[in-house]
C-alpha cells in the first residue's frame, strides 16, 4: 500500500487535467517527476479517474522508455549515446559510471537510491559531445575522468543536503 500522501499529490495533479484519455501521458509525466518513478498502484487510480481501463494505462505507460515503474535514484544520469556522442566515445564514460557505481545494463539504480544511470539518444548538445544529463542539467564534453569527479561532487552535494 502506498502512503496517503502519494494519493494526495496525485489528486492534485489530476485536478489540473481534463478527465480524458489524452491527459494520460502528461499525468504520468508529472507523477514520475513528483516521485521519481511511477508507483504501480497509481496507474489504476489514474485510469479510473480519466475513464480508461488500467490495462490501457499500463499498455501506454510501458511503451514509453521514460516511464519507470521502479523507483529511480536521486540523481538520474542520462548518458547520451546518440551518434555524435557515440563517435566521440561516449561508451567509456558510461562504462566508467557503471563500474564506479556497480551498475550494469540490467541494474540501473544504486542500492542507496542515490544514482540511476541510463542511456539516452541525443540531448541536443551534440556539438559538445559526449554529453550527459544529470536530472535536468547537461554536462558537456565528458571523459571517464570527469565522470568520476562528477560523481564525487554529486555525492558531496547529497551529503550536504542530508
Amino acid at each position: 500500500m502506498l502512503e496517503q500522501s502519494f494519493y494526495d499529490k496525485t489528486d492534485e495533479i489530476l485536478s489540473r487535467y481534463p478527465a480524458q484519455e489524452r491527459s494520460l501521458i502528461p499525468i504520468i509525466h508529472e507523477i514520475q517527476e513528483a516521485f521519481n518513478y511511477v508507483p504501480v498502484e497509481l496507474l489504476p487510480y489514474v485510469a479510473k479517474h480519466i475513464g480508461i481501463t488500467e490495462t490501457k494505462a499500463f499498455s501506454v505507460a510501458s511503451f514509453y522508455e521514460r516511464f519507470s515503474f521502479e523507483p529511480k535514484g536521486k540523481y538520474i544520469i542520462r548518458v547520451c549515446d546518440g551518434t555524435a556522442c557515440h563517435v566521440r566515445n561516449s561508451l567509456p564514460v558510461l562504462e566508467r559510471l557503471r563500474s564506479e557505481l556497480g551498475l550494469s545494463e540490467k541494474k540501473h539504480t544504486t542500492d542507496d537510491m542515490l544514482f540511476t544511470v541510463e542511456t539516452v539518444s541525443c540531448l541536443g548538445a551534440c556539438s559538445l559531445a559526449p554529453a550527459l544529463m544529470v536530472n535536468d542539467h547537461v554536462h558537456p564534453a565528458m571523459t571517464p575522468e570527469k565522470a568520476t569527479e562528477m560523481l564525487k561532487a554529486l555525492r558531496e552535494e547529497a551529503s550536504v543536503h542530508e
Binding site: L123, L128, V138
Partner: protein, 624 residues
C-alpha cells in the same frame, strides 16, 4: 501588458520596442542555449548581471544611460566554443567565457571599448583572430534565414521578438490575405517539409483545407529523435515565437483553431521557452481568442514526448497526443484526412513552420531565389563528429558537403583523414569522399541512396569503423522499433545479431548476403518509415565500405582499431624487458614469460581488457 487588438497597435509596439533596444548603450548577449548552458553560461550571465547592476561606472560614450543591459540569447550555433558572449554595438564575440573573465570584459570592453584578445576566436587554420561573428569562417559560409534571430534576441522576451519583426507576417496574413492566398504563397514558394520527407508543405495545407470536416488541427513535430541532431531544439530554444507564428499562419490558412506542439522530453529548456512564449503571446493577444482583433482564434498546447523515437512518425505522434501507445497505423487514411483525434491535420516540422513567416513577408519569389530549383530555401544542419568546428549551421540547399565540412566546419579534427559523413541519421546513410562534391538537396541526395533527413551531419574520420557504425544504427532502430510489424520487429533483431557477430569477429561470408536479403525485405514490407529506412545505414556501408566488412569477417581485423573484440594486444619482443609487470596485472593470466625472454600474450586467453598496455613501463605492448 495589454492585448494588441489591431495591426496598427502591433506596428506601434514594434517601433517602441525597437527604439527601447536601440537606446540601450551597450547590449551584452550571453548565449543561454542548451550547449552554452551546459558549459556554464548561466554563471557568466549572473556575474555579468551583477556587475551591470552594481556598477557605478558611467559608460563613457553613452552618458545618458546609467548601466548596460545584459540579456540571455538563444543558441548561436557555435556551442562548441561556448559560453559565447556578444557585445553590441561593437559586435565583438567572445568565446569560452568564464565567470572570472566577466570583470575584465566589463572593465575593458564595456567601459573602454577595448578588445580582449585572448577571448576572441582564432581561425584554426590560419591562426587569425576573429573579431566578430562574420569574420569567423564557421559563420561566413552560412545563410541564416530561419536562424536569423537565434542568438540576437532574448527568447524569453516577447518584446524583443516583436521588435525583431516577429508576428508581422501573422498580421499581414490576417489582415491582407485570404486563407487561399496564404496557401498559394506557400505553394509558390515550393517550401518542402524539413522533417525528413521533403513533402511540399503547401500541398499538405491545401489538402487539409479542402477536407469536408471542419474541425481541424495544426500540429508541430518537435520530437527530433534523430540522435546527433539538434536543429529543432535550437530553433525552439532560440526563437520560439517564429515557429509559433508559422503555426498560427498555418491554422489561419487551413481553418484550424487548435494546435499542438510535440516536443521531446529530453529538451526541457525548449519546453520551458515554448511554454513561456505561448503565455506571453496569449497575453498580447497574438494567440488565443480573436487574435489581433481579427476574429480568428487559435489555441496552442504543448505535449511532451516520453522517450520513443517512433513518435516522430506522424500517426504515432498523433496517437501519442491522444494518450495512446505511439504506434504508427496503416495508411490510408492519411493524416491530412484523419489525423489528430480523427480530424484533418496539418503536421509539419519545427523548421518548416519557422520558414513560413519569412516567406509571407518577403514573398515566394524571394524564397525561391535561395537554394535550388526544386529545393528552395535553406536547411539547418547539426554538424558534429570529427570536424574542427561543430555546431548548428544554416546553408542554402545545393551547397556541397565538402563546403560544409571543410569551409564551415574547418575540416577534420587533428588533421585526420576524412572517411565518411553520415547524413539523415538512422534513416540515412553515408557519403564518401567521392560524393563530397555533389549538391545537397532533397532530390540529388536521393540519387546517392541517402536522404537529407532532418539535418544531422556526423563526420567520421579514419578512426571510425563503418561496420561498427552500421551496428550502432541497427541497435538504435531495433531498440526504437515499436514492435508492431513483423519485418521491423523481427528483422532488425536478426540484422543486429548478424552485425554484432561480425564486429565480434565471428562473422561468416554468408552474413553479407543475409544482411542484404533482410534489408531488402524490411525496406519493402515494413509498415512505417522507421522500418522502411532502418536497413539504409547497413546498405549504404555495404555499398561503400565492403572492404571493412570483409576485413572483419575474413581477416578478423578491424581496420580502424575500434572493435574491441577484434583488437589484439601484442608484445613487441624488441622492447620487452621481461619485467613481468604485465603478467602480474593481467586478470586472466594470459601473459606468459621467463626472465630474459620477451613475454608473450596468449591470444586465446586474452579478454582484451587493455590493462597490460597501461602497466608496461617500457611501452612494449601495442594494439594490432
Amino acid at each position: 501588458m495589454s492585448r494588441i487588438t489591431t495591426q496598427e497597435e502591433l506596428n506601434a509596439l514594434q517601433g517602441k520596442f525597437m527604439s527601447e533596444i536601440k537606446a540601450e548603450p551597450i547590449r551584452i548577449l550571453v548565449c543561454a542555449g542548451t550547449g552554452c548552458q551546459a558549459s556554464g553560461s548561466l554563471n557568466v550571465y549572473e556575474k555579468m548581471k551583477e556587475l551591470a547592476e552594481n556598477t557605478e561606472i558611467k559608460v563613457e560614450f553613452a552618458l545618458h544611460v546609467q548601466h548596460p543591459h545584459v540579456h540571455k540569447s538563444g543558441c548561436l550555433g557555435f556551442c562548441e566554443q561556448g559560453p559565447l558572449v556578444r557585445i553590441e554595438p561593437f559586435g565583438v564575440l567572445y568565446t569560452k567565457v568564464k565567470p572570472e573573465d566577466c570583470e575584465e570584459i566589463f572593465n575593458e570592453t564595456v567601459k573602454k571599448g577595448e578588445i580582449i584578445h585572448r577571448l576572441l576566436y582564432k581561425n584554426k587554420i590560419t591562426g587569425e583572430e576573429c573579431f566578430n561573428q562574420d569574420s569567423i569562417p564557421f559563420y561566413n559560409g552560412q545563410t541564416r534565414v530561419v536562424l536569423r534571430t537565434c542568438g540576437t534576441i532574448d527568447p524569453e522576451s516577447i518584446e524583443e521578438a516583436i521588435s525583431a519583426g516577429e508576428y508581422q507576417a501573422l498580421s499581414k496574413t490576417l489582415f491582407k490575405m485570404t486563407p487561399d492566398e496564404v496557401i498559394q504563397t506557400v505553394l509558390d514558394s515550393k517550401l518542402r517539409g524539413r522533417g525528413g520527407g521533403g513533402f511540399v508543405a503547401g500541398k499538405k495545407w491545401q489538402q487539409v483545407a479542402s477536407q469536408p470536416v471542419t474541425e481541424r488541427y495544426v500540429v508541430c513535430n518537435g520530437d527530433e529523435g534523430d540522435p546527433g541532431a539538434f536543429m529543432d531544439c535550437s530553433i525552439m530554444e532560440g526563437d520560439p515565437h517564429r515557429m509559433i507564428e508559422g503555426m498560427i499562419i498555418a491554422a489561419y490558412a487551413t481553418g484550424a483553431h487548435e494546435g499542438y506542439i510535440y516536443v521531446r522530453a529530453e529538451y526541457p529548456l525548449a519546453v520551458k521557452r515554448l511554454t513561456l512564449a505561448i503565455k506571453q503571446a496569449t497575453e498580447y493577444g497574438l494567440l488565443g481568442d480573436n487574435i489581433l482583433g481579427s476574429g480568428f482564434s487559435f489555441n496552442l498546447h504543448i505535449n511532451r514526448g516520453a522517450g520513443a523515437f517512433v513518435c516522430g512518425e506522424g500517426s504515432a505522434l498523433t496517437a501519442s497526443i491522444e494518450g495512446k501507445r505511439g504506434m504508427p497505423r496503416v495508411k490510408p487514411p492519411r493524416t491530412v484526412e484523419e489525423g489528430l483525434f480523427g480530424k484533418p491535420t496539418v503536421l509539419n516540422n519545427v523548421e518548416t513552420y519557422a520558414n513560413v513567416p519569412q516567406i509571407i513577408l518577403a514573398g515566394a519569389e524571394w524564397y525561391r531565389s535561395i537554394g535550388t530549383e526544386n529545393s528552395p530555401g535553406t536547411k539547418t544542419f547539426a554538424l558534429t563528429g570529427a570536424v574542427r568546428n561543430t555546431g548548428l549551421v544554416e546553408v542554402p540547399f545545393g551547397i556541397t558537403p565538402r563546403e560544409i565540412i571543410f569551409n564551415i566546419g574547418g575540416g577534420i579534427r587533428d588533421d585526420k583523414k576524412f572517411k565518411a559523413v553520415q547524413i539523415g541519421g538512422p534513416s540515412g546513410g553515408c557519403l564518401t569522399e567521392k560524393q563530397l562534391d555533389e549538391p545537397l538537396d532533397f532530390d540529388s541526395v536521393k540519387k546517392l541512396g541517402v536522404i537529407v533527413g532532418s539535418g544531422g551531419l556526423v563526420v567520421m574520420d579514419e578512426n571510425t569503423c563503418m561496420v561498427e557504425v552500421a551496428r550502432f544504427f541497427m541497435e538504435f532502430t531495433h531498440r526504437e522499433s515499436c514492435g508492431k510489424c513483423v519485418p521491423c520487429r523481427e528483422g532488425t533483431l536478426r540484422m543486429l545479431e548478424i552485425l554484432e557477430r561480425i564486429v565480434a569477429g565471428n562473422g561468416r561470408m554468408e552474413d553479407i548476403e543475409e544482411l542484404r536479403t533482410l534489408s531488402d525485405l524490411i525496406i519493402h514490407t515494413a509498415l512505417c518509415g522507421l522500418g522502411k529506412s532502418a536497413p539504409l545505414p547497413v546498405v549504404s556501408t555495404l555499398n561503400s565500405f565492403m572492404d571493412e566488412y570483409i576485413a572483419h569477417i575474413q581477416d578478423k581485423k578491424c581496420p580502424a582499431h575500434v572493435c574491441q573484440k577484434l583488437k589484439q594486444y601484442v608484445i613487441e619482443p624488441t622492447k620487452c624487458k621481461s619485467c613481468s609487470k604485465c603478467a602480474r596485472g593481467c586478470p586472466v593470466q594470459a601473459i606468459d614469460g621467463k626472465p630474459k625472454v620477451p613475454y608473450v600474450i596468449n591470444q586465446d586467453k586474452c579478454i582484451k581488457c587493455g590493462a597490460c598496455i597501461e602497466t608496461c613501463p617500457f611501452k612494449a605492448i601495442y594494439v594490432a
